[in-house]
Symmetry: D2
Subunit: 350 residues, 4 copies
């Protein structure tokens, strides 16, 4: 039973069906197809304004393209030390921006603040240092926490003061949306966000992400950047069809709600079983503290999860997804609870 | 009826079925899944030696990663002026290689020769010029012609003399393979090819290409390059499954044979109808000379194809694919033939 | 006696004296010194408008920075096949622009035309090809020829039609200026030039070039680019002092006049001695056709010059400079004339 | 009186004289001149082994080229947070390496340790993170402190364990050398250093630095990198002549000794006047804590120095150089001492 990540799962049947349905006759290549055109209109509706949307196959591509749009080679990008763009993309933002610098801004709960960003900026010495260009956050964050609207606004005000832009890595944007009860517009451009990496793969698609640019006048530049990075897919209808199905009948929201609910259920049960959580459960990730013996034992029984030393020793990450089964959640709780009892009564404790 | 390109079509049903079948439970992400492991073994078999295979979503990515593996930023890549990497990738090879230079080497029939490459090399002035690093060819070429084994060997000998490597853009590799009646090994490493961009999208897949590296010791570097370019797909099983289906039961070869056969049929019929072909039909592309009125008329009747000024005025490209229907081919011939007659009898000719 | 290039010579005594004079006490580093400030004012005067001037140490840096200012990574730069930026800078323009593409536009007399550039542009296929961004010419050209004001205007009109900018590699700008009898303003911004790599090293300095940007509002970007490329010199006063001396009392113009005059003298004498010139002598370079035996014989006598196969077999380049001595010119002529006679009377000619 | 930095001064007369002397007749361009050849031999002697030496005009260029030699685009460079390469080069290392990542490793006294570097390395997740490639230190450090030979060895052992290389930013290498009483070889390759940015500008030259590569077999690659970055100077004799004079009669060592001695004198006097130093004086920089009123008063009297908030509030940096006059040092001490007394007796203290 695999709680390692929400990328170990498959695709939602409705997404697969959409792909199969899209396999009909000829279609214009390179995004001129009808699916992509419909998708563009749908994103405009979704965000309550005109946006430019560029489907791509990976979140790394969506993030790196977004960052490059607003960061010159001599630019600085401020982000949390543990940001995916900082530690898990093998330098893609640096490559796409032709050598920009990511500057880690410490922050509690996996989040950064406008104040923290401004403290990190030092550009008294104009020509010698990289120049403040972008703030990049993950919503939900890498540890599943959420930026409230007022936190977003505080960040965007800091951006405005320093002529920076604001990027959101939305690999788990749907999970944030339903948890915050906000609209896509409220969590993005209405709060000052300039570009969103809209994730869908982790929440039901095969391989479908999108850059959503809230400055559509610059869409042509992004088109060149995407093509040049090898991320313009010739039969794009098959990516757009995934995204269309993802948005249809609020599939994305119900998928995210389910994942979040299971994480809540799992977190509550683990706490009631006596295990501490390293952070409150806000979306579909949770971080539990287990004695090493418990973790080892659970793994021996077939439960999979990652160590998460960044949040302290003996912390493990559990991720739920749209396709996590409630019985698997309960089985994990039952097994952990049993080990807890065993551990509590064991004469030699770790 | 769309003869514009072999990327306007969809996917082969067997490929779609493989995707649907792969959607079963959890799988290791980022290429550690079973589908990708099986695929690696299958490519070893296919090429009769150990290779390193890296699935990606686009041909541009496959080409640009291949080129970057063998071309330092100060390197020169020799290719045909009309090579896809030179004119149709918006500078992806330059981006992936951090600024290498593509040098156009003229050549007949859409092909370059070892002699032509060597004439283009001038490095007497060692430090001032970019350095010969790679020869890049398309097999089949951009106009559907083929490099014979001896032509390949002549190129690889030129490479050896100048310590260059040899790259094949195999967007239509299957079509070349069946037309030449050679084995994958014979057309690649046995003939001195170092890296192949193995295309599958144009011949039956949704979005599946692969870099095949014949120097597997350097696979780790390619892994970093792919990740950093945003081309490591998290749910890679869905790409590997496409490629697996593509190779199963020789689907790729039968698809290519069918496309090639229809191009032959089309070419022969157009010639017998009195239209000249700009090049012999060797694979699944043909280039026909039509009076402008014929072309306009055909388009008005719903036939789609591209102008191809590179081969002369009034030249048009027609491409067949695995899913081209024979009745569409015949309909085009019938319509063209009728216009020919009309044209011949018209008092005012163009 | 060295006619290989105008970079084999030393510096003009007045330039050296200026360096020695500048070595007095403390000065603000990184271009905030008084010499650099005076230089900025002087360039404004020289060009009859406000410009932004950035001293650097090499012509390659001046060119590559200029190009990068107006060429995005997905941009195309149109230039003559033999342009210094295309063949003699080991890919510096590609590096500084993060991967732009230089496109060779053939042209007679070492020059390109607006018409030639427009013929080379094909951007019907917007996202797949690199985008027209810059035209780059050398004034004087690599073979010493000159762009007249009307030729410049024809180029800048082509630029305007395609929203491109115009760059001049002015490694030998002074030589062009005096030969054309035009003002710096007339040969640059008044004719539509956006940026000039202003050369001084070849005409009397040690190591002093400058980027002259005719869009001073973008100076800050250029400041970052220069710093980031390692071309902001800490004790910049020593470069600015060179340029100041270079401009004082029209030293640069008299140096260039002298070099041009010697090239004329040399060209006329060689022609009267029966040797053909491959191009008319317009500035300080000439290209003479010598039988191989003559060239070898002259070299054996201590005369140095380069082969110049680009202009045909048996063509050799001779370059005069501000410090070329008239007696050395005459000695070369005398020696060549003697060999000519010998050659003419020799029974076995090449 | 300017204590801001050792780059506000001029050049040593012996260096200027060498430039003037080098201005004699023709010389091979691009480093093939006799001065550069002699210099190469001299560096071999100096470092007691064969090295490859590449003169350039700036320290930023020397550092960025050094880093790029050992850091692939997906590489990580470990350095102190305040390293010049990290905060004062506007991203040059990122540009030259095509997008590598600098990772700040905290450390006391302006230095990093092998242990600190190893703690910062996390590459369990091979393909997702940038890969450990280089450790970069400044010797002397940015705050004038020194790496002992055993500290160097500890760093190079960490490098060996992780297959990294070791770079030294030697902008003030001479100051470190005389302070440590070690030989150039002992402080570099004998201690595991792979490449040194050998500074000379701050210690008596106009604009002369050099990359010293202790793996001369890779010199050709560095030659391409230097040219391509615009750092191959055509009349290189004028840079090599500076470096030659700099090394002759141990000018570099006596210059550095003098600067260090004045810093010692200044530090001792300031301490005896009751001002605390933020770090011990080890080379030619010192960091003094002054009440803001004292600093303001001194500035009003014409003394120039920088704020250095990185070492705490009210900390100021004073730098001595080869051309700092002892009377200026003493004048500063006298003025500060007077303000100290005044401050101590003032009823309202800050």
């Amino acid at each position: 039973v695999d709680f390692r990540s929400d990328n170990v799962g498959g695709a939602h049947p409705a997404v697969l069906e959409a792909i199969v349905r899209a396999n009909r006759g000829a279609a214009d290549p390179y995004g001129a197809d009808l699916w992509s055109q419909r998708l563009a209109a749908r994103f405009n509706d979704l965000f309550e304004r005109e946006v430019a949307v560029f489907p791509v196959a990976t979140g790394t591509a969506a993030n790196a393209l977004s960052i490059a749009m607003f960061t010159p080679p001599w630019g600085a990008v401020y982000c949390h030390p543990n940001a995916h763009v900082n530690v898990s993309e093998c330098g893609a933002p640096e490559q796409f921006s032709a050598g920009a610098k990511l500057i880690a801004v410490p922050g509690d709960s996996g989040k950064i603040t406008g104040h923290g960003v401004e403290r990190a900026i030092h550009r008294e010495d104009a020509v010698h240092t990289v120049q403040p260009s972008l703030v990049s956050i993950s919503q939900a964050s890498e540890i599943g926490t959420l930026y409230t609207r007022s936190e977003l606004e505080s960040l965007s005000e800091a951006c405005a003061r320093h002529r920076m832009h604001l990027h959101v890595d939305g690999a788990r944007f749907a999970h944030a949306l339903v948890a915050l009860g906000a609209s896509p517009a409220e969590l993005t451009w209405k709060a000052g966000v300039d570009v969103l990496a809209f994730g869908a793969t982790k929440n039901g698609c095969l391989a479908a992400e999108a850059v959503v640019l809230f400055e559509p006048a610059r869409a042509q530049e992004l088109a060149y950047r995407r093509k040049r990075a090898g991320h313009l897919i010739s039969k794009q209808r098959f990516v757009s069809a995934q995204l269309e199905a993802y948005l249809t009948d609020e599939l994305w929201l119900s998928n995210a709600r389910q994942a979040n609910a299971l994480a809540q259920r799992l977190g509550a049960a683990l706490q009631s079983a006596g295990f501490a959580l390293a952070t409150p459960v806000e979306t579909n990730q949770l971080f539990v503290t287990w004695p090493a013996s418990v973790a080892a034992n659970l793994r021996a029984r077939g439960f999979a999860f990652y160590d998460w030393g960044a949040l302290g020793p003996d912390v493990y990450r559990l991720v739920t997804a749209f396709d996590t089964r409630v019985e698997d959640v309960d089985a994990l709780v039952t097994a952990a609870r049993a080990l807890r009892v065993q551990d509590a009564t064991s004469p030699t404790k770790r």
